[in-house]
């Protein structure tokens, strides 16, 4: 009895925290089903009207496609160059290593808003207009630190005698990399790519400075829309985005089983 009360108290505190964590997400999902012209929670009635009304707002679909494109481009390039750089950092000794490691890690310390301003000024000077490329370049800077952290971690306990064995058996360095090294560090590389994708897909701060009227990513579109309107369209767009993320995670989990990576990483 004496022991049960604190335990009950402890569990209810945890439950409260979990409720707090999920509340805003649940609220967005449920209020997208309302029949009213305004956002209300709990929703009044049930309808999918706000999803069908998205047909009249093709700009959201355009932004969604652009965001996916940019996120894929970012994830691909950031993972590729980040993995190469990680190989150099972990396996080679060279002058200026510390400086380079610090440089590549520093975007985590620089507020994105300052980086966004700096990038906008630089782009306008070199005449690079708002484009998927301009967005990808900015997002690469934001995501390479994550990629390198994860890949370096998977490279550090790597048993190099396996590579040596492959080389002694006559495999070239490319073959060794793609058939031995890459499969072994796979989980780190994939986790890095997922982080890069999500970070790019989610970025508002840097994109806000780079976008133009034609090139608008989804977070920026949602942000600017809700400055002026407060109708349930936003909740249906957001719900689609949430469901998309959840579906993506499920697919990744099923196909690659990297759920393990995320839960064991901590």
């Amino acid at each position: 009895m004496k022991k049960k009360l604190p335990k009950l108290l402890f569990n209810s505190v945890c439950l409260l925290v979990y409720t707090f964590l999920l509340a805003p997400i649940v609220v967005v999902l449920l209020s997208s089903l309302t029949t009213t012209e305004y956002i209300v929670f709990p929703p009044k009635g049930l309808t999918l009207r706000w999803y069908t009304e998205l047909v009249d707002h093709p700009e959201f679909m355009q932004s969604f496609t652009l965001s996916i494109l940019v996120a894929f481009g970012t994830a691909f390039i950031a993972t590729a160059i980040g993995t190469l750089a990680s190989l150099a950092v972990v396996r080679r000794e060279f002058r200026g290593k510390t400086a380079i490691v610090q440089l590549v890690g520093s975007p985590l310390l620089i507020p994105s808003v300052v980086f966004g301003v700096a990038l906008l000024q630089f782009y306008s000077w070199i005449g690079l207009a708002a484009s998927p490329l301009a967005l990808v370049l900015g997002h690469i800077i934001l995501t390479v630190p994550f990629v390198m952290r994860l890949v370096v971690a998977s490279l550090v306990g790597f048993d190099r005698s396996i590579e040596q064995a492959a080389m002694n058996l006559g495999a070239g360095s490319w073959k060794v990399f793609f058939q031995i090294t890459l499969p072994i560090i796979k989980s780190g590389v994939i986790a890095g790519a997922i982080f890069a994708f999500i970070t790019s897909f989610d970025d508002l701060t840097v994109a806000l400075f780079i976008v133009s009227t034609d090139v608008v990513t989804l977070p920026v579109r949602i942000y600017t829309y809700m400055q002026y309107q407060y109708d349930p369209i936003i909740t249906s767009v957001s719900s689609i985005m949430i469901l998309f993320t959840v579906a993506l995670m499920l697919v990744i989990e099923r196909v690659l089983g990297v759920g393990k990576v995320f839960s064991s990483k901590n």
Binding site: N11, L109, F115, L204
Partner: protein, 305 residues
């Protein structure tokens, strides 16, 4: 015979030198793409913005030709701007404290659970990280607005007579920040909870200490490094965050990142926006350095105990 071995050695040496040289070129080839992008699209832009922050403001083009320190002096001598600095730091401090208090029980619970339950709880804690920050903040707008869920509940319970102003206040910004930054703290505390040797806990219990005593004199001190590390992360992310204060605070609750955005995007005053941005970087770095000094000291302290 002798000569033969000599040339063989020479050959080997040459081969080794050649390999070394090739390796060095390889190293830089591996680094080249990352370095090139970082120099051109990170260092150079920040460097140019730094230079801009020492220029005068020109209403027609944004950036004037004269050099000046006025941007920095103006910011640091105006009570309004100093108030914004104070608000930024205050919000970050409160966010960090609340995050510690609500993360600790959750980290504790997860590190105690095993198997499948553990995976589910971890996923639950990390899931907010996967969902767009804009959407999460938007959820809080729905919850906290004048006719939002919180106000409606309180009204229907009869606890209040008219809706409270919750949205676009420091409170709403803090709530949003805690929600966004919570997972980082949980992960950090879990890391140090896991490092605790279970035999230490058992020893304490065997010696007759109550669970409370065990927690406060064994667990808590041993997890302080994790709490500190999490705090640095949460504090610095909170000081520099833009999305949460922009959506949940807006122009009513100006913090430094919002001020930077406003000066550049609305006032088109690039030099001043740049100066505020670099002061923000300065504040964030100072706290990180100060914290890591404390962290280093506290780790020593724990080791001695």
């Amino acid at each position: 015979m002798q000569v033969g071995i000599g040339t063989e050695n020479d050959l080997l040496l040459k081969q080794k030198k050649k390999n070394l040289k090739r390796k060095r070129i390889d190293t830089w080839l591996l680094l080249l793409p990352t370095l090139a992008i970082f120099i051109f699209f990170f260092l150079l832009p920040l460097f140019f913005l730094f230079i801009t922050s020492f220029k005068t403001f020109d209403p027609s083009s944004g950036i004037g030709n004269e050099w000046t320190l006025q941007n920095y002096i103006k910011f640091m001598s105006d009570p309004f701007y100093l108030g914004v600095v104070w608000r930024t730091v205050k919000i970050a401090l409160i966010t960090t404290l609340i995050t510690i208090f609500i993360s600790y029980p959750v980290a504790f619970q997860i590190s105690k659970s095993r198997g499948r339950a553990r995976n589910y709880f971890t996923l639950l804690v990390l899931s907010p990280l996967l969902i767009s920050m804009v959407i999460r903040c938007y959820g809080w707008v729905i919850l906290l607005s004048n006719n939002g869920v919180v106000n409606n509940t309180l009204l229907s319970l009869g606890w209040i007579d008219e809706p409270l102003t919750l949205l676009y206040t420091e409170l709403s910004v803090v709530i949003g920040m805690v929600h966004v930054l919570f997972p980082y703290m949980v992960l950090s505390i879990m890391g140090s909870l896991e490092k605790i040797d279970p035999s230490v806990i058992r020893a304490s219990q065997n010696l007759g200490a109550s669970s409370f005593r065990t927690f406060f004199s064994i667990m808590l001190p041993l997890t302080l490094p994790g709490v500190f590390a999490g705090s640095v992360m949460v504090f610095s992310l909170s000081v520099s965050s833009f999305v949460t204060p922009a959506i949940l605070g807006g122009p009513q609750v100006k913090v430094m990142s919002y001020l930077t955005y406003e000066q550049v995007a609305v006032m088109l005053n690039w030099p001043y926006g740049g100066a505020i941005g670099f002061l923000l970087i300065l504040i964030a770095s100072i706290t990180i350095i100060a914290y890591s000094k404390i962290l280093a000291r506290s780790e020593k302290g724990v080791a001695i105990q």
